[in-house]
């Protein structure tokens, strides 16, 4: 090759992965709509583009494989061969194999993948068998009409640019840091009084621009959920096939957008929920017929925005949650005493207990030791919640609610024990001075708020920080479960947009701390996990 191919490799890989994902979706879609020529055309184009691109870069194995694949697809297109379940499975396996090859090829690794020879032979048989028309293999020109629609590599979407998520992360962090240092300049100018007035006005103008930049960066990170939902059609197909069931996936709200980081971290929990719906939610075709339902079950993956949150639902039209079975399993697992009786809500909660799984037998798909407890934990780490709703005979719906973005949260900055901490603003109700007289000065105490008693923690003491400096303390009142609780701090430093970072590997999972952020002066402040701090067990402490 006389040009620098290495620069093209990342583009090749990401385009090939997109192409393979689209082939997979087409194949699953064709199973229910075998005569849809549009889908078939798209499938064919994707295979053809992959063949062309890999040939350009000299990846012989991929080129040869896609060539045969294309032959098979051509016969399907000409209706010489019927795209039955068996052939669809073969083609889906081929897509999987190509994924492996695409990953290996750029590293110069052209060793055959497992089953490559067997799959190739099977494809060749499919391409040769099932009809006459010997000329097909020898006449590649016959398919150019479909393949050429201006979608050649490098010419299709010239106005798009692929940007690494790392860079977007960094850009977002910088935008957030600018916002924080701005708010500091603002307060300095404010404190300067009259001489700083004009500067303050100019500063406010610039602040608006900064906000626009930050919003734009946030927008750039937003992607529609459709692309991450569509591969679940395959999940449903494979899970149903393995269980002798029939099911299809319906996607609603493909265009709903969320932060790429949220979308990525949702993938595993949703896969698990979709599999669960097929494995445990829907009935076998004969049972469904007996109940007067369509034999093919429907799993619906639905996304929408609601009150500033992202809502994702995984719904099935199956039998609904079998309360008796859940109770029996919970007793068997020792999660529940024999005599205990529970309401519907508590029964549903049992499914999220660690070690609970109603699978009668461990299956390849849902028996990998992941339970709903892990799903809930994953969602909780995204600051989200999972709820269950079920109607006997009509189906089950799992609802995930998440904040739209993870990276930036409105925070409330406080000082305690010589350090600064951030509380998520959403949990702060109000702030007041903590009267010093008449109360315990230990790590906990009770304050009075409009005639109600509010228990509080002293942040500096609870976190073992340095000595309390201030003679006067403030109480930040936060929501805690059904009621209110307080956090006693040395000072209130105000609101700020906080760019959330982890605590830095390998310092993770410190109880009571959910992350960190870099403040305007370049120092690090910890973000407190208020719920965890308030709910941790503590000894009755009295000074």
């Amino acid at each position: 090759m006389d040009f620098d191919a290495s620069a093209l490799l990342p583009i090749f890989v990401s385009e090939a992965e997109d192409g393979l994902a689209s082939m997979e979706q087409c194949l699953v879609a064709l199973e229910t709509r075998p005569d849809d020529t549009e889908i078939l055309g798209e499938l064919f184009r994707a295979a053809h583009t992959l063949k062309g691109n890999s040939a350009t870069l000299g990846f012989a194995a991929i080129t040869a494989f896609t060539h045969v694949l294309e032959d098979v697809l051509d016969r399907v297109r000409r209706k010489d061969v019927k795209l039955g379940r068996e052939l669809a499975t073969l083609l889906l396996e081929s897509v999987d194999l190509l994924r492996t090859l695409v990953k290996k090829a750029p590293a110069g690794d052209d060793t055959p993948a497992p089953r490559q020879a067997a799959l190739l032979k099977a494809l060749e048989r499919a391409a040769a068998g099932g009809g006459a028309s010997e000329s097909l293999l020898a006449a590649p020109d016959a398919r150019e009409d479909v393949a050429v629609d201006g979608h050649r590599p490098g010419t299709g979407r010239t106005r798009d640019l692929r940007v690494g998520l790392d860079e977007l992360d960094r850009l977002l962090r910088l935008a957030g840091e600018i916002a924080i240092s701005r708010s500091r300049i603002g307060s300095l100018l404010d404190a300067a009084g009259e001489p700083g007035r004009e500067a303050l006005e100019a500063h406010r103008d610039a602040e608006r621009l900064d906000r626009d930049v930050q919003e734009l960066v946030m927008r750039m990170r937003m992607v529609p959920l459709g692309a991450s939902f569509r591969p679940h059609a395959r999940t449903v197909r494979d899970a149903a096939l393995a269980k002798g069931k029939q099911a299809r996936l319906v996607i609603e709200g493909e265009e709903v957008e969320a932060d790429l980081a949220v979308v990525e971290q949702l993938r595993d929990p949703i896969t698990h929920m979709v599999r669960n719906a097929v494995d445990h939610g829907v009935e076998r075709p004969d049972e469904r017929r007996a109940r007067g339902k369509e034999p093919v079950a429907t799993i619906t993956l639905r996304a929408r925005h609601e009150a500033g949150q992202l809502v994702v639902e995984v719904a099935d039209d199956g039998a609904g949650i079998d309360h008796a079975r859940i109770l029996a399993r919970a007793r068997e697992r020792g999660l529940l005493r024999e005599s205990q009786s529970l309401g519907e809500r508590e029964i549903h909660e049992l499914m999220f207990s660690p070690g609970f799984s109603t699978a009668e037998s461990v299956t390849e798909l849902s028996g990998r030791g992941i339970g709903m407890d892990v799903v809930r934990r994953n969602i909780a780490s995204l600051r989200g919640t999972v709820e269950v709703a079920s109607r006997a005979g009509e189906g089950t719906t799992l609802t995930i609610r998440l904040p739209l973005t993870l990276a930036v949260i409105p925070g409330f900055l406080v000082a305690a024990g010589g350090e600064r901490y951030v509380l998520p603003l959403e949990c702060v109700v109000e702030c007041l001075d903590l009267p010093s007289a008449g109360y315990d000065s230990g790590p906990t105490g009770v304050a009075e708020l409009r005639g109600e008693s509010v228990p509080y923690l002293r942040v500096a003491d609870v976190l073992g920080a340095g000595a309390r400096a201030a003679a006067r303390e403030c109480l930040v009142v936060v929501e805690h479960g059904e009621g209110l609780a307080g956090l006693a701090v040395d000072g209130l430093l105000g609101e700020a947009q906080i760019v959330v970072q982890s605590l830095g590997h390998p310092l993770h999972s410190v109880r009571g701390v959910s992350g960190s952020t870099i403040l305007g002066d370049g120092r690090v402040a910890l973000i407190l996990d208020v719920a965890a701090l308030l709910s941790e067990p503590r000894k009755e402490a009295h000074a």
Partner: protein, 177 residues
């Protein structure tokens, strides 16, 4: 630098520094940079040898005080105190950490055979934490096996399980007011 004549006599580079009043050194290959010791944000509920976290050009990075980890006397922060930013594999992940040094001395160039084996006992730091000793005018420089020390990164979160020893040395525990 003169080309090494024999492979076993290859020259190794170490950065020597003062830690807990001792002359120590680490393989220079692990040291990414040296930064001034500035404000370190304390992190609660971790082993006391974790001084906290700092902002290293936009990334949050932990700071480790090995002197505390080894139960040595903790040096006061002076103008000479600095952080060796070491680049290591911890639990299969690359991570950068700051190691507190009371002062940085020099780069030592040693041939492999100049690195003396660690005696079974008698060193102020447990033998398991060392790769060897380097002889210098004033005595010995303790060459730390920093990769191995940090690879057992679980000790960083030791506070939760009650303080645990690092290489057999009990960690002195701070009082929580």
């Amino acid at each position: 630098m003169i080309e090494a004549p024999e492979p076993e006599a290859a020259v190794l580079q170490f950065l020597s520094f003062q830690m807990g009043g001792l002359a120590c050194a680490v393989d220079l290959a692990h040291v990414r940079e040296i930064v001034r010791y500035e404000h370190v944000t304390r992190v609660p509920r971790v082993a006391s040898c974790v001084r906290g976290v700092i902002n290293l050009r936009g990334s949050v990075v932990p700071v480790i005080d090995l002197a505390v980890g080894f139960g040595l006397r903790e040096g006061a922060v002076t103008a000479e105190t600095c952080l060796l930013m070491v680049d290591l594999m911890v639990g299969g992940e690359r991570s950068v950490m700051g190691v507190v040094a009371e002062s940085v001395s020099q780069v030592l160039e040693l041939r492999g055979d100049e690195l003396e084996p660690v005696p079974a006992f008698g060193t102020p730091i447990p033998a398991a934490a060392l790769v060897g000793l380097a002889r210098s005018e004033g005595g010995f420089t303790l060459v730390l096996d920093v990769q191995r020390l940090m690879a057992e990164g679980t000790f960083l979160n030791a506070r939760a399980a009650g303080e645990r020893a690092v290489f057999g040395t009990p960690i002195s525990m701070e009082k929580t007011a």
